[in-house]
Amino acid sequence: MVEPLLSTDRLVKHFGGLLATDDVSIDVRPGEIHALIGPNGAGKTTLVGQLTGLLAPDSGTIRFAGRDITRLPTHARVRLGLGRSFQITSVLREFSALDNVALAVQAHQGHSFRFLADVRRDRALRTAAQGGLDAVGLGARAAMPAAALSHGEQRQLEIAMALAGEPKLLLLDEPTAGMGVEESQRMVETLRGLKRSCGMLLIEHDMDAVFALADRITVLVYGRVLFCGTPDEIRRHPEVRQAYLGEDGA
C-alpha cells in the first residue's frame, strides 16, 4: 500500500461551543481525486482551513508528503506542495490575469527579496505565467485585469495560480460554485486533465462533477466523517442516501 500523500489523524476543531471538525481522519493518495461532500455548514471549508494552516486544530495531526505539518505556517506548506483554491474566488483583482499567475510562479521560484530588477522585463517569469494561463484556456485574456474576467474565468485563473506552484496536492473548495453548466463542464475537464500530475481534495456540491471525477468520496456531516468509500459504495450506502443525496440517490 502506498503511503498517503496527505492524512489527518483525529482532527478536532471547535468554534466556541460549535464542534466544526469532529475527530476527522481522512487521507488522499498520490494522484487520487478524493471528494469531500456534505451539507452546508458540515465543516468542509473549516477542514481545508486547517489543512492549509489558516486555522489551527484544537487537537490531532496533519501529515503531508511524509512529514508532520500540523504546526507549519501556511507559506511553508505551500512550499512543500500544498496548493489551494478558495470557495469564494480570491484573485488579485487590480492585477492583470498574467500578473496574477506571474506572482504565483514567483512564489514558487524561491524568495522574492529582489529589489531592483523589473519583473515586467523578466522573460522567464512572463513565459511561465503565460504557459499557466494557456493551460486553463485563459491565454487570450492575459492582459485583462482579473476583476474584468467572468466568474468562471476567475475560477480558472485560481486554478492556474494554484498550479504554478507545481503542487503535489490541490485543495479545491467548490471550484464550480456559481458557475453555469458550460463553465462547470470546462472546469471538470480541466481538473480531469490534471489528475495524473497531482492529487486533489475536492469539495463540491455538484454531484455530477463529483461522480465524474472522484476516486473516493468522504461524506462529512456535522463535522464528522459519516462514510468514506468509492462512488459506487456511496451510491449504495443507505445512510448516505438519506442524509445527503436524498432518497432518490444520485
Binding site: T52, R84, S90, V91, F95, A102, Q106, S112, R114, V119
Partner: protein, 317 residues
C-alpha cells in the same frame, strides 16, 4: 517618454538648479524652504513605499526623523563629528527601530496598526524629552557632520545639493523597487493578503523588510534635518509631523512614485504663503494656517482621489 514623467523631470531639473536661481534672485530664504521640501520628500517617498505600495498606514514615521537626528546629535555632543561614523550609526539605529516596531505592529491590522505605530513614535518622543543630558525638551544645538575635505555642510548650496542628490537616489531606488519582485509582493499583499499567503509568500517577512527599508530612508531624512538647522529637539518627531507626512503622501497621490514630491511642494508652498497671509490679516493667526489647510485638503481628497499625481495624469489624457 510619457508627458507625466516629463512634468516630474522638469520639476527635478528645476530643483537641481534651485540654488543658482535663489542666488540670482537673491532669495536665500527660498533655498531653505527648498531644502526642507527635498528632505521631507525623502521621508515621504519612503512612507509612500509602505503606505502606498504596502497599504500599511504608519502613523509614526516622524520617529525616524528623531532617531536619525538624535543619533547624529548625541554623537556630535560626545565629540564624534565624523559623518562617515555618524551617518551609518544613525541609519542602523533607524533600521533597528523599524525592525522592532514592525515586528510588533505588523501582527495587527487597520486602526490597531495605526495606533501602535503612533504609540511607539510617542515613546521615542518622550524618551528624547527626558534626555536631560542632551537638552531634554529644549533640544540640543549641534555642530554639523564633517566629511573632511569632501563636503562642507555649512555651505547652504552644498548642503542643498547633497539633499537633492539623496532624494534622486531615493526616488530611483523606490521606483525600481515598485516594479521589482519585492515590490510586486508588497502590492499583492495590500490587494489580497490571504491570497498572497496561499500562494506561499510569508507576507509578514516582506512587510517587515519594507518597514526596515522605509525606516532607513526616514532616518536619512532625520540626519539631514539635524544637519540643516544644526539642531535636534523632540519637536522634530512629534505626532503632528507624522501626520504631516501622511498628509503629504495623500496630497501627492498614494502609491505614485513622484506623488510625495508634489505633495511636499504643495504642502510647504501653502505653509509659506498661508502663514504670512493669515498673519497679515491678524497678527498671530499664521500659527493656525492648518485650519485653512484642512478644508483645502478635504477638497483635494474629494475632487482628486489620486492626489496631485492623478490631476497631472488627467491633464495628459
Amino acid at each position: 517618454m510619457q508627458p507625466r514623467n516629463m512634468i516630474a523631470l522638469l520639476l527635478l531639473a528645476l530643483l537641481a538648479v534651485l540654488p543658482l536661481l535663489t542666488q540670482a534672485f537673491d532669495q536665500r530664504y527660498l533655498l531653505s524652504v527648498g531644502t526642507r521640501i527635498v528632505i521631507w520628500s525623502i521621508a515621504a517617498v519612503s512612507l509612500n513605499m509602505i503606505l502606498g505600495y504596502g497599504g500599511l498606514v504608519s502613523f509614526g514615521h516622524a520617529a525616524f526623523f528623531g532617531i536619525g537626528g538624535y543619533a547624529v546629535g548625541i554623537l556630535s555632543a560626545e565629540g564624534i563629528q565624523n559623518g562617515w561614523l555618524q551617518w551609518p550609526v544613525a541609519l542602523a539605529a533607524s533600521m533597528l527601530w523599524a525592525a522592532l516596531v514592525g515586528a510588533l505592529s505588523l501582527r495587527t491590522r487597520g486602526v490597531y496598526f495605526i495606533m501602535i505605530t503612533l504609540a511607539f513614535a510617542q515613546l521615542v518622543y518622550y524618551l528624547a524629552s527626558g534626555l536631560e543630558g542632551y537638552g531634554g525638551d529644549d533640544g540640543l544645538n549641534i555642530s554639523r557632520s564633517r566629511f573632511a575635505g569632501l563636503l562642507d555642510l555649512r555651505d547652504k548650496a552644498t548642503f542643498y545639493w547633497l539633499c537633492f542628490a539623496l532624494l534622486c537616489g531615493t526616488l530611483w531606488f523606490c521606483g525600481r523597487l515598485a516594479n521589482s519582485r519585492f515590490g510586486t509582493v508588497l502590492r499583492g499583499a495590500r490587494a489580497n493578503e490571504l491570497r498572497m499567503t496561499a500562494l506561499g509568500f510569508p507576507v509578514f517577512r516582506y512587510r517587515l523588510v519594507a518597514c526596515v527599508i522605509a525606516g532607513a530612508f526616514g532616518g536619512l531624512a532625520g540626519i539631514l534635518i539635524a544637519n540643516e538647522g544644526a539642531y535636534v529637539s523632540p519637536a522634530m518627531m512629534s505626532w503632528v509631523k507624522s501626520g504631516d507626512l501622511i498628509v503629504i503622501v495623500v496630497l501627492g497621490g498614494i502609491g505614485a512614485l513622484f506623488g510625495p514630491l508634489y505633495g511636499a511642494i504643495v504642502f510647504f508652498a501653502l505653509e509659506e504663503t498661508l502663514k504670512p497671509f493669515l498673519d497679515l490679516l491678524h497678527k498671530g493667526w499664521g500659527e493656525y494656517w492648518q485650519i485653512v489647510f484642512g478644508p483645502l485638503l478635504v477638497l483635494i481628497a474629494l475632487h482628486a482621489r489620486g492626489g496631485m499625481a492623478s490631476l497631472l495624469r488627467r491633464r495628459d489624457g
